[in-house]
Amino acid sequence: MIRFENVTKIYHDTVYAVRDITLSIEKGDLCFIVGPSGAGKTTLLKLMFGMERPSRGTVSLFDRRTDGLDASSIQAIRRHTGFVFQDYRLIDDWTVYNNAAIMLEILGKPAVYIRGRVWRMLKWVGLQHKVYERARNLSGGERQRLALVRAIIHDPDILIADEPVGSLDEPMARYMMNMFLKLNRKGTTIVIASHRQDTLMEYAKVFRMEHGCLVEPGSDA
C-alpha cells in the first residue's frame, strides 16, 4: 500500500531530513514511527501523503509511484487518505461542524448523510456541545479531537497521524489510541508518528528513526 525505496529528502541542498529509507506498509497494518524530535518522522509522513516529493528514491502510494503523478492525481490520493497534522490545520474562522464536514463536502456526499455523520462523530469524541463554536476558540485537546474527526470522517483507506495525542490528557489519549485500534481492526491502514512509547505499540509494526535514518525498520516494540 505504501512503499519507500531508498528515499532521501534533502532541504536547501544540504539538510538531510530523511536518508535512504526503504520500508513497506501493507493494507491493514498498524504502524508506529517513533523517534526523538527532529528524527524526520514528520517528513516521512509528508512523503507518504504526497505533500513532499523525494529528492532521491521512489515513493509508491496505492501501488502508484508519486513522482510520475500530476497534481490532480495526488489530490485524488489525498481524498482516500486521512491526515492528522501536528499543528491540526483547522480552519479557524469556521465552526466545529463545518471543519468536521469539509472532507465529506469535498467528496460530494449528500447533505443529509453529512449532517448525520458529523453529529455522530462529534458526539463520539465529546465535541457535540461545541458544534457551533469557532475552531479558534477550542482548547488544544479539543482541536486535536476535531482534527482527528476530520481525518477519519470519510473512512479513509489510510490514516496518517502526526503526534495525534500529543495535546491530550492521559484518559483522552488512551481513548483515542483505542479508537485507532478499532479503526485498524475495521481494515484501515494506520500510520502514527509519536515521540513517546505507547502500550498500543505491542499490536503494531514499529519503525524507529534517528537523524533521518530508520534504525529499526518494521520491528515489534
Binding site: Q75, I77, R78, R89, I102, I106
Partner: protein, 289 residues
C-alpha cells in the same frame, strides 16, 4: 459533483467576512454597467436621429422651374443612382403644399391661401446612414446637377448629432471598452482580496484533496452574481432615468425609446462576461497560493 448549496454557503461566508468590500464591488459593477447602458442608449439615439426626416440624414432638392417631365424622371434616376442616396422621392408642388399644411397646420397664414403653383417640384432625399455626416458636400454636388435649382438640409444640434453617427459609434465602443476593462479590474481586485483573506481555508482544502474546481468555483459564481446584480440594477436605473427624461416632451419621446431586449441582453452579457473574466484572472493568479 460540487453541490450548489455548499458553494452558496461559501459565498455567504465570504460576504459576511467583507461586507463593505462586497457592497463596494456591487456599486462599482452597477456604475460601470450604467455607463455601458448609457453608451448603448447614445448609439441608439444617434441611430434613430440619423434616419429621421428633417435631419442631416435627409435633404430636399428643388427642381428648376420649367424642367420637362421626362427630365424630372431622369433626374430622379440620377439621384437614386448615387451610392450616398438611400431614397429619392418625387414630391410634386401640390403635394408639397399639402405636406406643408400638414406640418404647419391648415389655418397657418403661411400656407392658408397659397397658390400651389408658387412652389417648385422637389425630391425628398434620404441619405444612407454612413453618409449622413457628409450632407454639405452632397448638397453642393446635387445642386450642381442639371435641373436642380436648390438643395436644403437640416443643420443645428440634432442635425450634427445625426451626422456624427459613425463617430458616436466609435466613441461609444472606446468608452465601452474602458468601462468593461475597469469592471474586470474591479472584480479581479475584489476576488483577489477575497482569496487572500481566505488563504488558510483554501490551503487546508488543497491539503485535504479538494479539486481546483471545488476550491475556486465559489469565487467564479460570486463574480457572476456581482455581474448579474450590477447589470440588473444598472438596467433598472437607466430605464427609470430614460423614462423620466422622455416624459418632459413629446419630441424626446420619439428619440428616447425604452431599453430594448438586445440592449438589455448585451449589458447583462458584458457584465457577466467581464466579471467572470476578472475572477478567472484572480483565480489563476492565486491557484498556487
Amino acid at each position: 459533483m460540487i453541490r450548489l448549496f455548499y458553494i452558496f454557503k461559501l459565498i455567504a461566508r465570504g460576504l459576511r467576512l467583507r461586507p463593505a468590500g462586497s457592497a463596494l464591488t456591487l456599486v462599482a459593477c452597477w456604475f460601470a454597467m450604467s455607463q455601458l447602458s448609457l453608451a448603448f442608449t447614445v448609439v441608439d439615439i444617434a441611430d434613430r436621429l440619423s434616419t429621421m426626416p428633417a435631419t442631416s440624414g435627409s435633404m430636399v432638392a428643388y427642381v428648376k422651374e420649367g424642367t420637362p417631365r421626362e427630365n424630372v424622371a431622369a433626374l430622379g434616376n440620377t439621384l437614386r443612382s448615387r451610392p450616398e442616396v438611400a431614397r429619392a422621392l418625387f414630391i410634386p408642388r401640390d403635394k408639397g403644399l399639402e405636406k406643408m399644411r400638414k406640418w404647419l397646420g391648415a389655418s397657418n397664414p403661411l400656407v392658408e391661401d397659397v397658390d400651389p403653383a408658387i412652389l417648385p417640384d422637389a425630391f425628398e432625399i434620404t441619405l444612407n446612414r454612413e453618409h449622413a455626416h457628409d450632407a454639405p458636400r452632397l448638397a453642393r454636388e446635387i445642386a450642381g446637377i442639371d435641373g436642380v435649382s436648390d438643395v436644403r438640409y437640416r443643420t443645428g444640434l440634432i442635425g450634427s448629432i445625426a451626422g456624427s453617427f459613425t463617430r458616436i459609434v466609435i466613441g461609444a465602443c472606446a468608452f465601452g471598452a474602458v468601462v468593461v476593462i475597469c469592471l474586470m479590474l474591479v472584480i479581479y481586485l475584489s476576488i483577489r482580496v477575497g482569496i487572500v483573506s481566505r488563504k488558510q481555508e483554501i490551503e487546508v482544502m488543497k491539503m485535504l484533496g479538494a479539486t481546483v474546481a471545488f476550491r475556486y468555483s465559489p469565487y467564479l459564481i460570486e463574480a457572476a452574481a456581482y455581474g448579474l446584480a450590477g447589470s440588473a440594477a444598472a438596467l433598472f436605473t437607466t430605464s427609470a432615468a430614460l423614462g423620466h427624461l422622455s416624459g418632459y416632451s413629446a419630441a424626446l419621446q420619439t428619440v428616447i425609446r425604452p431599453i430594448g431586449l438586445n440592449h438589455a441582453a448585451s449589458v447583462v452579457f458584458f457584465s457577466c462576461f467581464c466579471s467572470m473574466a476578472g475572477a478567472l484572472l484572480a483565480v489563476r493568479k492565486s491557484i498556487d497560493v
